[in-house]
């Protein structure tokens, strides 16, 4: 048993040493450096309106009003909720993820069919004419995280008539807002073209006076 004891002792010492280096020193050093050099990013890239955070540039939000762009389908509703929903337990706490429907799952087909119908109905109600175009794939599929902050430019284009009609802005103005908040491929190669929904909507809200910024 003597050798077991010596093995154990050496293992324990190494464990404690690495625990201090990797578990304590390393995260503290990195947090210090991060807070020092990249303060905004290290604290979540929050967007402030009138000095108050309204969301993070990187995290999507659920929007309901027709005057705003809608993000992708989220299984966690972007962790967005009202006081009542929290009290009633409809909002179960902060989370992330997707529905995890396999490609042949009937629930997936049913959800998409329902959403297609709902979108066409909403389009007709707000814009006043039938929707005849193609619905791009990202519009009615759920994102992986449930927190995707972006939509594709094609998706934004399809939503533009609704946003314009409901907000009172012209389609050109809305298209300009989309353009302002479109992020391009890195070096023209890596990634995809995408539109930041929250930033678009803040710009719309400012234009229509839903929020006022103090100079």
């Amino acid at each position: 048993m003597k050798s077991f004891g010596s093995y154990f002792k050496r293992a324990l010492i190494l464990t404690l040493a690495l625990l201090v280096i990797c578990g304590i020193l390393y995260p503290l050093v990195l947090t210090g450096l991060g807070q020092l050099f990249f303060n905004k990013q290290a604290n979540g890239n929050m967007i402030e309106v009138n000095g108050e955070a309204v969301g993070s540039e990187l995290v999507g939000q659920a929007f309901e009003g027709d005057e705003y762009f809608h993000g992708r389908v989220s299984s966690v509703n972007y962790n967005t909720y009202t006081e009542e929903e929290k009290e009633s337990g409809d909002y179960a706490g902060v989370s992330s993820g997707t529905f995890n429907y396999g490609a042949t799952n009937e629930d997936l087909e049913a959800r998409v069919k329902e959403d297609v119908a709902a979108f066409k109905e909403r389009y007709k109600a707000v814009v006043g004419e039938e929707f005849t175009g193609e619905i791009p794939a990202d519009m009615l599929t759920a994102s992986g995280s449930g927190l995707d902050p972006h939509i594709s430019p094609a998706n934004a284009e399809v939503q533009t008539p609704i946003v314009a009609a409901a907000s009172g802005l012209s389609e050109e103005e809305v298209a300009q807002i989309v353009e302002n908040n479109t992020e391009h491929k890195v070096l023209g190669i890596f990634g995809e073209e995408k539109v930041n929904v929250l930033k678009c909507n803040i710009e719309i809200a400012e234009k229509i006076g839903a929020i006022t910024t103090e100079e």
Binding site: F8, L12, L14, T15, Y26, P27, L30, L33, G34, Q35, F38, Q41, A42, N43, G44, M46, E52, G55, S56, E57, V59, G60, G65, Y68, N79, T80, Y81, G93, V94, S95, S96, G97, T98, N100, Y101, G102, A103, T104, N105, E109, V112, K113, V116, I135, P136, A137, D138, M139, T141, A142, S143, G144, S145, D148, A154, E183, I189, F190, G191, I211
Partner: protein, 589 residues
């Protein structure tokens, strides 16, 4: 497709210098950073009273297992009592016993399968002292084992090295410095690094939104660098805070690819160095007669080393086939949704993020399962059937680069098998790296190669036969079987990604997956170290004209064929009932 090719091209540029650096560390050669690290390491050796004597393979394996066991005990205690400990601003409670068992085995074995959800399951203290700590140490353990294995194969020394010295050197010279640099880059891109509690903001529509933060970047970088894969949040690297931009995505991709690839290069250089020394010795003997010849030492730059090149090429071939199948399958979209009125020109976007799109998502999926990291930037459960079969297959092969160190060791098992099969065909005793492969080695190889499918198929069979197992399945039809296969492949291959729909936080799944991870890791490592030890003890035989060359293109083809044939013989029936059947249903009906 262009961005996939370019991403891989840049990877090749990065991996070669890293391989050279790792080779210097593995063989105690000088590097540019020695003045700093020698002092740091010296201090650690002194404080921990580490005697840097060589170990036999048995001692090495025992020390490794013992150290891992101690880490498991410490980690388990922290998880159970995290509710009472400090650094817990979000008020998380202690973890339930079977879930703690599963979690701790999962992180110690470099699997990082998560049956909990990071947001609600772990305090910041646990994220640091258990998760981040284990991400470092499990990766370092795997790599240490691999270095010992390579020393055994290269056969320059009598022993396989000192376990404690390896652990310290790898941690201080590779893991921590690269993590700090990479971590800063991720923070720059937008991954939070703070100890504040979660934010609650008022949205412009007058609602509330909870935004989770924490020391995310610190975990994120080592999660990839150490091919760990367990996310800070439930949805892993799909969440914007874990993986905010395409640049962070590329950083994460390269950091999980770099060390497993570099391991192969290290191996190549180690075997190369031995051959060179032998040559030099022979030349020196000859030089006694003609002194002028010995002066001409070859100054050619070596990137891979011949033996490493073969292995790397075989891995690359399998990898490229996989990534192509996955990309094509995902690009084709889902015909059922097309019929439902959703245009599929963008490809199958269910479970994917707009900022990564189809190309970077399928690349990430193939990389994470080939390099057995297990991190995901899209949800694998929602992949198209064939797109989902690629990650499943690569975890079943478990040798396409593979996790830190162990992937190389697994591939060497196939190499030995290939050499053995060729030996049978040409009627000679098989040799590898100048050592005879005999009954003892082949038995050990067989154990390693059989344990893996046995764990996957055995546990899957158990799960579909018991009601406790069936309850976890959430997708109907053939996809349900894929979910089960995926869970155990991921466990046995120590990958850790999941078909996340599986309702796996139950006693049944926690315990069976925990056992699969445990046996998948330690049986293989011990058997592989035994092979290295056994080869080390053998006398070297001289290469003759009849020796099977293991450093040319033909051998690459043989090796790839052996891997695929072995996989087909073992896994084809299961794959046919899962993803292949689902594919036929999707496209034929």
């Amino acid at each position: 497709m262009l961005q996939i090719i370019l991403t891989l091209a840049i990877y090749m540029v990065l991996v070669i210098p890293m391989g050279a650096y790792m080779y210097h560390i593995a063989t105690n050669k000088k590097t540019f950073a020695d003045p700093v690290f020698d002092r740091v390491d010296g201090a650690i050796y002194k404080v921990c009273r580490i005697k840097r004597e060589g170990m036999t393979w048995k001692q090495y394996a025992l020390h490794l297992v013992m150290t891992n066991a101690v880490m498991v005990l410490v980690g388990y205690a922290i998880l159970r009592f995290q509710g009472f400990l400090m650094a817990n601003p979000n008020g998380i409670e202690g973890m339930e016993p079977t879930l703690s068992f599963n979690t701790i085995i999962s992180f110690m074995t470099n699997t990082n399968l998560q049956h909990y959800s990071g947001e609600s399951g772990l305090s910041y203290l646990s994220q640091m002292l258990v998760i981040i700590f284990m991400m470092f140490t499990s990766a370092t353990s795997g790599y240490a084992a691999c270095m010992a294995f390579c020393r055994g194969l290269a056969g320059k020394r009598k022993d396989v090295g000192n376990f404690y010295e390896d652990m310290v050197r790898i941690t201080t010279r590779i893991m921590v410095p690269v993590s700090i640099i990479g971590g800063l880059l991720l923070i720059w891109q937008g991954a939070p690094e703070t100890f504040q509690a979660n934010f609650t903001v008022h949205t412009i529509e007058g609602k509330l939104q909870d935004i989770q933060t924490g020391p995310v970047a610190a975990l994120e970088i080592i999660k990839h660098l150490g091919t760990n894969g367990g996310g800070f949040f439930g949805a892993n690297s799909t969440t914007p805070f874990e993986n905010p931009t395409i640049i962070s995505d590329l950083i994460e991709l390269w950091s999980m690819m770099i060390l497993p690839g570099a391991c192969v290069i290290t191996f190549g250089k180690m075997t190369m160095a031995r051959r060179k020394e032998e040559k030099a010795a022979r030349a020196a003997q000859a030089a006694q007669n003609t002194p002028a010849v010995a002066q001409k030492a070859p100054a050619k730059r070596v990137f891979f080393g011949k033996q490493g090149r073969t292995v790397f090429a075989a891995m690359a071939v399998i990898f490229l086939i996989g990534v192509t199948v996955c990309f094509v399958s995902e690009s084709n979209g889902n015909p059922i949704l097309e019929q439902a009125g959703l245009n599929q020109d963008m490809g199958s976007m269910e479970g994917k993020e707009v900022r990564f799109g189809i190309a970077q998502s399928s690349l990430f999926t193939t990389v994470t399962t080939s390099f057995t990291t297990g991190t995901v930037n899209n949800m694998h459960d929602t992949l198209t059937p064939l797109g989902g079969m690629v990650p499943l297959l690569h975890m079943m092969l478990n040798c396409v680069f593979g996790g830190k160190g162990v992937g190389l060791m697994n591939m060497i098992m196939y190499v030995i098998l290939a050499v053995f099969l060729c030996g049978l065909m040409i009627g000679r005793t098989p040799e590898y790296l100048g050592k005879k492969i005999e009954g003892r080695e082949m038995k050990l190889v067989a154990i390693v190669l059989i344990v893996h499918p046995l764990l996957i198929l055995g546990f899957s069979a158990l799960a579909v036969m018991t009601s406790a197992g069936l309850e976890g399945i959430t997708n109907p039809g053939f996809h349900g079987l894929s979910q089960v296969l995926y869970e155990y492949s991921s466990s046995a291959a120590n990958n850790g990604s999941g078909f996340e729909g599986l309702a796996d936080n139950t006693y049944f799944w926690n315990i069976t997956a925990g056992l699969a991870m445990f046996f998948g890791r330690y049986i293989a490592i011990i058997a592989q170290l035994a092979i290295a030890g056994s080869l080390l003890a053998k006398k070297r035989v001289n290469e003759t004209i009849g020796t099977l060359r293991t450093d040319n293109a033909i051998f690459v083809i043989i090796l790839v064929a052996v891997v695929y044939i072995f996989a087909a013989l073992t896994f084809f029936p299961a794959l046919a009932l899962g993803p292949i059947a689902e594919h036929l249903v999707l496209w034929m009906s």
